[in-house]
């Protein structure tokens, strides 16, 4: 029965419908999988102990793990922070409510960088998460736990949050599809805010169809989120406009991109050429400023969003003789160093003396970047580009250097600043057997169209098969015991299939 864990979401839905197995059997299979693997990987911070009755619906029986900054009623909500270590969510986030209404369930809450601030999940105050492909490496971040859980077949799907690349980067590090929808497409109600104008709930899956299935059932207008978009979903939207227009691809910067990624990029582009799309190289002149803009705006919003964690109403409180001391001690002890760094950075940027030079300026440059991308997307139906500048790095190798860490989001941030939908796709493996992935971005509200294109891509590249092979869950391995994830094979780089 352990092999039920290898099923993807659509296989689960149809298998349950046909009566091939029961929801309980699936539940136990996934629990066993977690029991045997997650001690080493550390994807989950908490697991659901029993399976609640399932609603009827298109997601009947589908487990979707939740990053631990998304509220699921009755389950812990920690944001991987000491300040919320013993907090239990008192209500369901809109995504969780919709998941349950459609028959899905939450197997557990996954590890993350504290309050989603980081690119390696090393900023978690509550545990280490390792990359299932190589346990000496990080899974990426900040939604590293969700990525590791899906990659190690502990759940077919997971949600994360993507503020500057926190879904797309770990998806690439773990060989998955990672989707950040158009800003406002998925309700943020019940997602703990990091940077409200950038935060968007994102989806991890081993194939684009699973992601589409989940997206169609959790996205759409929510009266509880004033920034959610009213446009209806268009699952029937065809893959591309008529007569195959040219796709844009981003010219690589001269420096800062891993040579193996640089080398794989033309082969990635070739996949689309072979689908029949002409390609045109584009440059976005303000791209390199996006990183700075992001760290000012995201930190500014975070400094305000995290003010509610003050020890007064809930969460950790450090007793103190005065109210001011209570705030100081609670927040100094409750937040980790990276969170404190960003709160300080944001508080500074918003100060009366600095506002114009920092937040104000960043706001203007953000508009410039958005204008440039708007121009680009008025000409091209898709933009192809790298997802990350490098492959999964070893634990501890960047944690001492925040600026180096921030650079991980070089290719993802500009799209977040302007709210465009983007999807990272697995492509091949590096010489060390680590996943290399790239990214597609699309105009506003072209989420469904982009996922259709990704389906065709998956048909050619076969990312899901590669994962199964890696974890010995392919058809031929059905009777073999799961291979230890410690085993680092020296698989040579290959393009699937």
């Amino acid at each position: 029965m352990t092999l039920l864990c290898s099923l993807n979401a659509r296989e689960i839905v149809s298998g349950l419908r046909k009566g091939l197995f029961s929801p309980q059997e699936l539940f136990h299979s996934l629990r066993e999988r977690t029991a045997s693997l997650d001690g080493e990987i550390g994807a989950f911070l908490s697991r659901n102990k029993e399976l609640a009755p399932l609603a009827e619906g298109p997601l009947k029986g589908v487990p979707v793990a939740m990053k631990d900054n998304i509220l699921a009623h009755g389950m812990p909500l920690t944001c991987a922070s000491k300040i919320l270590e013993n907090y239990v969510a008192p209500y369901d986030a809109t995504v969780v409510a919709r998941l349950k209404q459609n028959g899905g369930w939450v197997p557990g809450k996954t590890n993350m960088d504290e309050f989603a601030m980081g690119s390696s999940t090393e900023n978690s105050a509550l545990g280490v998460t390792r990359n299932p492909w190589d346990l000496s490496r990080v899974p990426g971040g900040s939604s590293g736990g969700s990525a590791a859980a899906v990659a190690s077949f502990q759940t077919p799907l997971a949600l994360g949050s993507d503020t500057g690349g926190s879904v797309r980067q770990p998806a690439t590090f773990c060989g998955l599809y990672g989707f950040k929808p158009t800003y406002g497409r998925i309700s943020r109600y019940g997602l703990v805010a990091f940077a409200s104008s950038l935060d968007q709930i994102g989806l991890f899956g081993r194939n684009p169809e699973d992601i589409s299935l989940l997206f169609e059932n959790i996205a759409g207008y929510d009266p509880l989120d004033s920034t959610s978009l009213r446009e209806p979903l268009r699952p029937d939207r065809d893959e591309t406009p008529k007569n195959l227009p040219a796709l844009a691809y981003l010219a690589l910067p001269d420096e800062g991109v891993d040579p193996e990624i640089r080398e794989a990029y033309p082969r990635f582009l070739k996949v689309f050429q072979e689908m029949g799309y002409p390609l045109e190289e584009v440059r976005v002149s303000h791209w390199e400023y996006a990183l700075y803009v992001y760290y000012v705006i995201a930190s500014s919003e975070a400094s305000s969003n995290l003010a509610r964690f003050d020890g007064i109403r809930y969460g950790f409180r450090s007793p103190a003789p005065s109210v001011d001391a209570l705030y100081d001690e609670t927040r100094t002890k409750g937040f980790g160093p990276e969170v404190r760094r960003r709160i300080l950075l944001g508080t500074f940027s918003l100060g009366a003396g600095q506002y114009d030079e920092y937040y104000g300026k960043a706001f203007q440059v953000r508009n410039l970047i958005a204008a440039e991308l708007r121009d680009l997307f008025s000409k091209y139906p898709f933009l192809l580009l790298p997802s990350t500048p490098d492959t999964a790095f070893t634990l501890g190798s960047k944690s001492h250097d925040p600026v180096k860490m921030y650079y991980s989001d070089f290719f993802t941030i500009p799209l977040s600043l302007a709210g465009y939908p983007a999807l990272s796709l697995p492509f091949c493996l590096s010489g060390q057997g680590l996943p290399i992935g790239f990214q597609i971005a699309a105009p506003y509200l072209n989420d469904e169209r982009m996922l259709r294109l990704a389906s065709r891509y998956e048909g050619i590249v076969g990312g899901e098969e590669t994962l199964k092979k890696r974890f010995n869950l392919g058809d031929e391995a059905f009777t073999a015991p799961p291979e230890s994830v410690h085993n680092k094979d020296n698989q040579s780089e290959e393009v699937f299939p």
Partner: protein
């Protein structure tokens, strides 16, 4: 001579059924922390959704104050830590308020137009209760998230009296429109004042802000104290500090709350959880169509249509429920001047509470009935005064009471004559003295007649009949 410049910042709670950004009831008098939800309690993951009813109320206030309505405005965060501020920031409109450039007229000596700089929508905070004995602070978040508007005046006010008059008229206007309940003591209307002194022709002085002036009296006293304090400093050649001060009711002085160095940096920035607030022409029109007659127009009309004195009009109009009661009474046929007089002198004696006509002591119909009976001479004023308490107490109409008590009006000339004769014959000595020239006894004699009939005769008839009797025409 020093010239005083005063501007007021007034926070008015909007009367709405729910809070500004969530659907909790806006009743903060309920048991502590009973009207809270993830949004107003600042739970992780909760997001604000703007209450359309609050915007409509805010619009009505802005129209009454002759403001320009900005078709687009937006919300911002004001960041500071305080235990009763659940999110660690207050959502307000700092950069782009919804209404600007208005004015209101006040009457102090003549008519003065006081400018309104801006009005913005914002949310209220909770309430802290300090238990000194146990060294504990308890916080009630029921009020947290209640909708407010802040009305910022131009520094057009020149005296404490003008400031108080401005506050009085503004309160009246907001209460009229049902925008605010006008309760200064309980803080649903709150007033902060900015005051500075300068010499004529010289630039404005440093302004000092005085917080929480919750009555007209305190406002005037605080401003007077500040006038003197600042003038003294300036006379001595010292500088006025840019400070925030509090008025101490006991000592009748203002005290420093925060100096310039302690002024907080609120780190305002655009609220990313809310979109642009767009107000359509149609919404403005609709809000305008629900506005009542303003108190100023009402006062004018009372003088013009009802021929009331300006003072009576002002007092009647000072409470919307009172004015409504009055107008209803007149509409039911009561003579306007008599109705005003009787309402303000007689009826108010039997009323209680800060706004007695919210639940009037009797119906306008009963009151009109009484006044019509009086006007038609079916009863006399003393009789009316006599039965009014019983009408109120028993809920009976004047007609019913007159019938029930068998009060008969002595109204035929013969009956009055007979009565006068009967009474005055028992007062021979006084009648003689009158006839001997002691004419000041007339009042006494008339009074005795009125007393004897318990007011059941028309004073005018009695007056005339007594005179005739005394002049011997009847003998």
């Amino acid at each position: 001579m020093w010239k005083t410049v005063i501007g007021l910042e007034i926070h008015a709670q909007l009367l709405t059924s729910t809070k500004l950004f969530c659907s909790c009831p806006a009743n903060y008098g309920d048991s502590p922390n009973s009207n809270v939800c993830p949004v107003c309690f600042g739970l992780p993951g909760a997001l604000p959704v703007l209450n359309g009813e609050a915007v409509r109320q805010a619009l009505r206030a802005a129209l009454l104050l002759n403001c320009r309505i900005n078709r687009t405005s937006s919300f911002d965060r004001k960041n500071y830590f305080y235990p009763d501020l659940s999110k660690g920031y207050q959502i307000t409109q700092f950069f782009h308020p919804y209404a600007e450039n208005g004015y209101m007229e006040i009457e102090v000596g003549g008519t003065r137009r006081i400018g309104i700089t801006r009005i913005h929508i914002e949310e209220d905070a909770g309430k802290s209760f300090h238990d000194e004995e146990r060294g504990e602070t308890l916080v009630d978040f029921n009020r947290c998230g209640t909708p407010l508007i802040e009305i910022v005046s131009e520094p057009d006010l020149e005296t404490p009296e003008e400031a108080a008059e401005y506050l009085r008229r503004l309160r009246e206007l907001l209460v009229y429109a049902g925008v605010n309940d006008g309760n200064l003591e309980e803080g649903s209307l709150r007033c902060d004042a900015n005051i500075s002194l300068h010499r004529e022709g010289e630039p404005l002085g440093t302004r000092v802000e005085i917080k929480n002036l919750n009555s007209y009296r305190f406002l005037q006293r605080a401003l007077r104290y500040e006038q003197e304090r600042q003038a003294e400093l300036l006379e001595r050649g010292e500088e006025v500090g840019r400070e925030t001060r509090l008025f101490d009711v006991k000592s009748n002085r203002t005290m420093v709350m925060r100096t310039k160095e302690q002024l907080l940096d609120y780190r305002y920035f655009p609220e990313p959880d809310l979109g642009i607030l767009r107000i359509e022409e149609e919404e403005i029109r609709l809000a305008g169509s629900t506005l009542p007659e303003t108190p100023a127009l009402k006062r004018e009309r009372y003088v013009r249509e009802y021929h009331l004195s300006a003072d009576d009009a002002k007092i009647l109009v000072s409470s919307p429920s009172q004015a409504a009661f009055y107008e209803e009474t007149v509409k039911l046929g009561a003579p306007p001047v008599k109705a005003a007089h009787w309402l303000l002198t007689e009826l108010l004696q039997h009323a209680s509470g800060s706004d007695p006509f919210l639940t009037p002591p009797l119906t306008p119909k009963a009151f009109a009935d009484l006044l019509v009976s009086l006007e038609k001479g079916r009863i006399t004023a003393p009789m009316a005064k006599d039965i009014l308490p019983e009408m109120i107490e028993k809920g009976l109409s004047a007609t019913e009471l007159i019938a029930k008590k068998g009060i008969a009006l002595v109204d035929s000339p013969e009956a009055v004559k007979a009565m006068v004769k009967g009474v005055l014959e028992g007062l021979r000595p006084e009648v003689e003295r009158y006839r001997a020239g002691e004419t000041k006894l007339l009042g006494f004699l008339i009074g005795e007649v009125m007393k004897s009939c318990k007011g059941a005769a028309q004073p005018k008839t009695v007056n005339q009949t007594v005179r005739e009797f005394l002049e011997g025409k009847e003998e």
